[in-house]
């Protein structure tokens, strides 16, 4: 029998796990530093649980990569001696030729040894052939070897109707102007958006409502190929007692950038005056623009590794204010920062407010921040059932996406460790990891369907980027995943029979051309759903810019409301389901040709 300091007996615990949890809490979570650069986070709260999906149809995600003609391989040094070799692997879904079918760009990065010799690794652009296959068109496009590439984002910076591509890199980013003829031109120097540091996340958004998209870029670590941190050389270069790459803890951060679009093909760096330069040098990774408080102005959210995350409130005067800690989105419910990587934004509760999902390192649960309105968020990670299944893995790309078209956003996350050396440890995390799928149970909770969606999600890989989109225009959202060690995965979603859907492609006239951060609300089948068009997000990736809604068994859409970035609100009446609609600002539903440019023309 245990006793307290006065010799009085303590009541015994019924639950050993609870007793262990409480013991760790009493000893103090801060003192455990057995993972070198990764302090041990607090244990799950008492009663934490996850639920397997039961009694519902789980959509099957089939790996069709090889049959689709995708032969891309991400080059990477297998030993990962340097942190820069562990972070690349972006997926960019971009309909570059505006034929209405999503094409795919994969970023690539060389090893440090190759980079020092001046060698690059080839990224790849795959054209969608409309028949389930893709063709490598990288050489014609001219975007094969931009740099030591990480990821990127899509935005039409000159409003010519052709989506442009921004690639983040170590040592200088690249902005490719889409020429509308299957080729791209590097316009970085003229545009003034190289940055030059080690950039990771990027996202376009029009923060000042002038109709031209601006560009937010996150930087990770102040890293130089001629000043390499020694493998295993300090306490921050150890993991569970073994030597690993150094960082990010112990290394200097690099600050972030916001480039204001001048409307003439050039940008101005306004990072400092806007208040988003990150002078303390947090380790920036994922970034997204989203209107979190229904102001009509996009805010910025940044996932930082091992440091608090930023929620930059758009003050409407060209300035932003970080309200991460005040809003509850900077740290976990416990008040501690995580190694955060990827971001998903979505109205998973049908409240009309976008909530946040953030992916984290192993032993740190992914975070679901429920948006309660008025800039207040609540960490409902454990209550929602998404936290516990995420604990064993290092999580990266993520998305809110309605994979079963029931009208409720699900969550998908891809995983893979950063240290191949963990495979030498007798137990614990492995280098290759499976993926996570959580299906929305419509009551604020999710069930775990990770092992029910087919063999592809269960396959252990080292994944990084993730993009979601309807690759085959069949009404089901597909998934594209980039791995850092090897081939990507194209996961065809076979959907759920009997479920309906709708998709909207928007084109701004007064608003920015791709209608980034336009908000679409639909009422159908007794449900009101809201979504927003986002550049960037996930981890180093870009998803479909069309807005997809699952509709369950609804046979018609009662009404649609679009709030354009210009502030204009447009109402559209009853619509048929299972259709792709094109919407031109001020003109409502139009034929697809009206929102797509002809080669060499302005819209």
């Amino acid at each position: 029998m245990r006793s307290n300091a006065d010799g009085k007996p303590l009541k015994p615990f019924r639950c050993k796990r609870l007793a262990k949890t409480i013991l760790v809490v009493l000893l103090g979570a801060d003192i455990a530093a057995g993972q070198g650069g990764h302090p041990t986070p607090p244990p799950p709260p008492p009663g934490a649980k996850a639920t397997k999906c039961i009694g519902r149809v789980v959509p099957q995600l089939e790996d069709i990569t090889a049959n689709a003609g995708i032969a891309f391989i991400h080059a990477s040094d297998p030993s990962k001696k340097y942190i820069v070799e562990s972070m690349s692997g972006g997926v960019i879904l971009i309909d570059y030729d505006r034929d209405g079918w999503l094409d795919i760009y994969f970023t690539n990065a060389p090893s440090v040894e190759m980079a020092i010799k001046g060698q690059k690794s080839r990224g790849a652009l795959y054209h969608n052939n409309h028949d389930g296959t893709f063709t490598d068109v990288t050489e014609k496009a001219g975007i094969g070897t931009p740099c030591f590439a990480m990821g990127g984002a899509v935005g039409d910076y000159d409003n010519d109707g052709w989506p442009d591509l921004y690639v983040t890199c170590l040592g200088g980013n690249v902005l490719y102007h889409n020429n509308g003829d299957g080729t791209f031109t590097d316009v970085t120097a003229k545009a003034g958006v190289a940055d030059g540091r080690w950039s990771t996340g990027a996202a376009f958004g029009d923060y000042d409502g002038d109709g031209f998209v601006d560009l937010m870029v996150t930087n990770y670590v102040d890293f130089h190929l001629n000043d390499l941190p020694g493998f295993g050389s300090s306490p921050n270069c150890k993991y569970r007692g073994i030597d690993v790459q150094c960082g990010p803890r112990g290394l200097k951060g690099a600050g972030d950038s916001l480039f204001h679009n001048n409307g003439d093909g050039t940008f101005t760096d306004v990072s400092k005056s806007a208040g988003v330069s990150d002078p303390n040098g947090y380790y920036g990774l994922g970034v997204i623009w989203a209107d979190f408080n229904n102001t009509g102005r996009p805010d910025i959210y940044v996932a930082n590794d091992s440091t608090p995350k930023f929620l930059y409130k758009n003050e409407g005067n060209g300035k932003f204010r970080d309200i991460g800690l005040e809003s509850g989105t900077a740290v976990s419910e416990d008040g501690s920062e995580q190694a955060s990587m990827g971001i998903a934004v979505g109205d998973y509760l049908h409240t009309g407010r976008p909530s946040l999902y953030v992916t984290n390192f192993s032993d740190e649960n992914d975070l679901l921040y429920r948006n309660d309105g008025n800039w207040n968020f609540t960490d409902v990670s454990y209550a929602s059932g998404t936290a516990l299944p995420s604990l064993p893995y290092v999580k990266w790309g993520t998305a809110f996406v309605d994979l079963d078209n029931d009208g409720w956003l699900d969550l998908i996350t891809v995983d893979g460790h950063v240290y191949p050396q963990v495979d030498t440890l007798p137990s614990g995390a492995r280098y290759r990891e499976p993926k996570l799928l959580h299906l929305n149970q419509t009551d604020g909770t999710f069930c775990d369907a990770s092992d029910q969606a087919g063999p592809a999600l269960k396959e252990k890989r080292v994944s990084r980027g993730l993009g979601v989109g309807d690759l085959f225009n069949d009404g089901s959202m597909d998934v594209v995943i980039a791995d850092i060690d090897g081939a990507p995965m194209i996961l065809k979603n076979h959907g759920v029979p009997g479920r309906h859907w709708v998709s909207f492609e928007l084109a701004g006239t007064k608003s920015n051309r791709l209608a980034l951060n336009a908000r679409v609300k639909i009422v159908a089948g007794g449900m009101t759903q809201t979504d927003e068009i986002h550049s960037g997000g996930s981890y180093l990736s870009q998803s479909d810019l069309r807005v997809h809604f699952g509709l369950g068994t609804a046979k018609k859409i009662d009404r649609v409301e679009i709030r354009w970035p210009s502030g204009k609100v447009e109402m559209i009446g009853e619509l048929a389901v299972d259709q792709f609609y094109s919407v031109l600002e001020g003109a409502g539903i139009v034929p697809a040709e009206r929102i797509r440019p002809a080669a060499g023309t302005k819209p």
Binding site: K11, C15, I22, P229, G230, L251
Partner: protein, 100 residues
């Protein structure tokens, strides 16, 4: 949760100066909606362990829920300063230059 609360109460009764018992007790009380009592535990925890940024974070959150904005802002600034200080502490010497 009730079992955990009972144990923390026992520990606090025996060791009222145990910040790592005061703090989780405050969190349990927040979950129960007993904000007044939660604030007391967080205030005690931060007094006993003034360098624990997460305790100041919870205290500011509880103040904010009680609409005590000035108190919340004060605690938030303490929390931010401590986090910055701890980051500097964590920034161990940069490892030496190494060729690949």
């Amino acid at each position: 949760m009730e079992e955990a609360a009972a144990l923390f109460n026992q520990v606090i009764a025996a060791h009222p100066d145990h910040a790592n018992a005061q703090y989780p007790m405050g969190k349990i009380l927040v979950d129960r909606g007993e904000l007044n009592d939660a604030v007391e535990h967080f205030e005690t925890a931060t007094r006993l362990s003034p360098q624990s940024d997460h305790m100041h974070y919870q205290l500011q959150a509880a103040y904010r829920k009680e609409s005590r904005a000035a108190d919340a802002d004060r605690e938030l600034e303490i929390c931010k300063a401590l986090k910055a200080k701890h980051r500097e502490r964590d920034r161990a010497a940069i490892p030496p230059v190494q060729s690949p």
